[in-house]
């Protein structure tokens, strides 16, 4: 398909890492972006999108995307569905350690357990890490950014001893064996 985002079809930049944040609600991604670009050891550029596919007009000017992060607000079904629908616009090559899921509001009482389970299953089936973040405070934003930077640097090939695929073996989401058992409510 013409609109697939491909991981290796462009040359990398020197000491540069490029991250794509996909979020239906377009909120948390802005706060993360502001902190991500403050990183000094490498040049981090951030692309923000609401969903995939990305507009074709930007294909030429867009740098090589090293890491794609899908941000989901667990209190919104629309947020989950939008992220899920965007997945098919990524070349399968991204799923070898260059995709990451980040969810917010996991502790919110209004989140139905089925939704969190569905997100877990999705992340596990795609062998991707599932990160939980707190988006309301500066500390929450900073710690989420630090975790993303760790994965991003590896995915951009800037960490000498490891690769994205290797790291994903360690970080990928796994399902607890009793995930399909009814929970105590």
């Amino acid at each position: 398909m013409m609109s697939l985002l491909k991981p290796f079809s462009k040359l990398p930049g020197l000491n540069t890492a490029n991250i794509l944040l996909v979020e239906n609600e377009e909120q948390f991604q802005q706060s993360l972006a502001d902190v991500l670009v403050e990183e000094t050891s490498v040049t981090v550029t951030v692309r923000l999108a609401k969903s995939l596919p990305l507009p074709m007009e930007n294909d030429e000017s867009r740098p090589r995307i090293d890491l794609v992060v899908f941000i989901m607000n667990l209190t919104s079904e629309l947020s989950f569905q939008s992220a899920e629908a965007s997945l098919k616009y990524l070349d399968p090559g991204y799923f070898l350690g260059k995709v990451c899921f980040m969810v917010t509001n996991a502790r919110n009482a209004s989140v139905p357990t089925e939704r969190l389970d569905a997100v877990r299953k999705l992340a596990a089936s795609l062998h991707c890490p599932l990160l939980f973040a707190e988006d309301q405070t500066p500390d929450g934003v900073t710690s989420a950014t630090e975790r993303l930077l760790t994965v991003l640097k590896v995915a951009a090939g800037l960490v000498p001893t490891t690769t994205a695929l290797y790291l994903s073996n360690l970080t990928r989401c796994t399902l607890p064996p009793d995930i399909d058992q009814p929970s105590f409510d």
Binding site: D34, T45, L48, N58
Partner: protein
């Protein structure tokens, strides 16, 4: 000072918030300097009410004076009663020559012809609005000052806003309004709400309108991203077009603080999976009410954030377009454009 005047004063004092007491009384201007000094505004409201009652007795005030105080308070704080909008129809030829004195005289004389015992007070506010306070009596009793009707009319516009009015008295008020403003009829504008300023601004379109243009001037970019070339919005054009469409439908900047909208559905039930209900001949009656601290702002945000797809349903954008918040939707109408709202008199 008679009993009804006393009760009215007590009620007004209960309604005025403590911090507004001094300014309102000063504006009323019926207390002497000495009397004003004697009021200690740090006391409890009950104590102040007693003090004020005594002063009014001293000044031999009548209910007429007390109603002035009430009117001052209501004009400053109109957002505590329900307001209903009315629209005057079919202007006569000389409608544009109606000015304040003429309107006042005509209104008073017409209303007095229709109902014997009625107390009318008319005041022109600084913002070109004419405020009318009406206390209704009937052939046997004097005007009841505890249940007044307030009417606000902007001269040179066909719009009138009224508070509580029984269906018996509505025709009388309507008649007086129609005759004194040189129109031929008056109808319900299907717009009501607690905040007078909100419904007035909505009806008279006193907010920033955005008209569809082929080449809109560039929207002010998100400042953070404009200055930081490291952050790049992929779908900025799409976002900008959504924002533009939302602003075209609902307006720009601060929107009138409308707080509810009601849709009365009289359409047939339609759902393939439910045969029993779909087979019924009669319409499925149902009322949908939207409520919010700022309904128009919420709807605009739904459209600009993409939660609701643009162009939005015309049912919702009819609210600012037609300046109404009560709609009756029947099967015969192709859309809200041919709504009929039975005039209730």
């Amino acid at each position: 000072m008679d009993d009804s005047a006393r009760r009215l004063l007590q009620r007004i004092m209960r309604r005025i918030p403590a911090q507004m007491l001094k300014p309102t009384l000063d504006k009323w201007g019926r207390l002497t300097a000495a009397q004003r000094q004697s009021m200690d505004f740090t006391e409890s409201k009950w104590a102040l009410t007693e003090k004020l009652l005594a002063i009014c007795e001293e000044n031999e005030m009548t209910v007429k004076h007390i109603t002035e105080l009430e009117m001052i308070h209501v004009i400053e704080n109109p957002d505590h009663c329900m307001w209903y909008a009315l629209q005057l129809m079919d202007p006569e030829e000389d409608v544009h020559s109606v000015e304040l004195t003429q309107f006042k005289e005509q209104f008073k004389s017409h209303l007095r012809e229709l109902i014997r015992h009625v107390s009318i007070k008319i005041k022109k506010h600084t913002d070109e609005a004419v405020w009318i306070r009406i206390a209704w009596g009937d052939s046997f009793s004097r005007p009841n000052h505890l249940k007044p009707t307030y009417v606000v009319h902007h001269l040179q516009t066909p719009y009138v806003f009224v508070t509580s009015l029984t269906s018996k008295l509505k025709p009388l008020l309507s008649q007086a309004l129609v005759l004194s403003t040189r129109y031929q009829a008056i109808k319900d504008a299907s717009l009501s709400g607690r905040k007078l300023t909100a419904i007035r601004d909505l009806l008279m379109r006193q907010y920033q309108q955005v008209f569809p243009t082929k080449y809109p001037s560039p929207l002010a970019e998100n400042d953070q991203n404009a200055s930081n070339i490291l952050i790049n919005k992929e779908q900025a054009e799409l976002a900008a077009s959504r924002h533009q469409k939302a602003r075209e439908a609902f307006g720009d900047g601060m929107l009138p603080q409308l707080q509810s909208a009601v849709y009365k559905l009289e359409t047939k039930f339609r759902d393939h999976t439910n045969k029993t209900m779909t087979e019924r001949e009669e319409a499925f009656r149902c009322v949908v009410k939207f409520a919010s601290t700022n309904l128009l702002e919420s709807l605009r945000h739904c459209a600009s954030s993409g939660i609701a797809s643009t162009p939005g349903t015309s049912l919702l954008s009819s609210i600012p377009l037609k300046g109404r918040n009560y709609f009756v939707i029947t099967d015969n109408s192709p859309g809200p454009s041919s709504q009929t709202r039975q005039p209730s008199n």
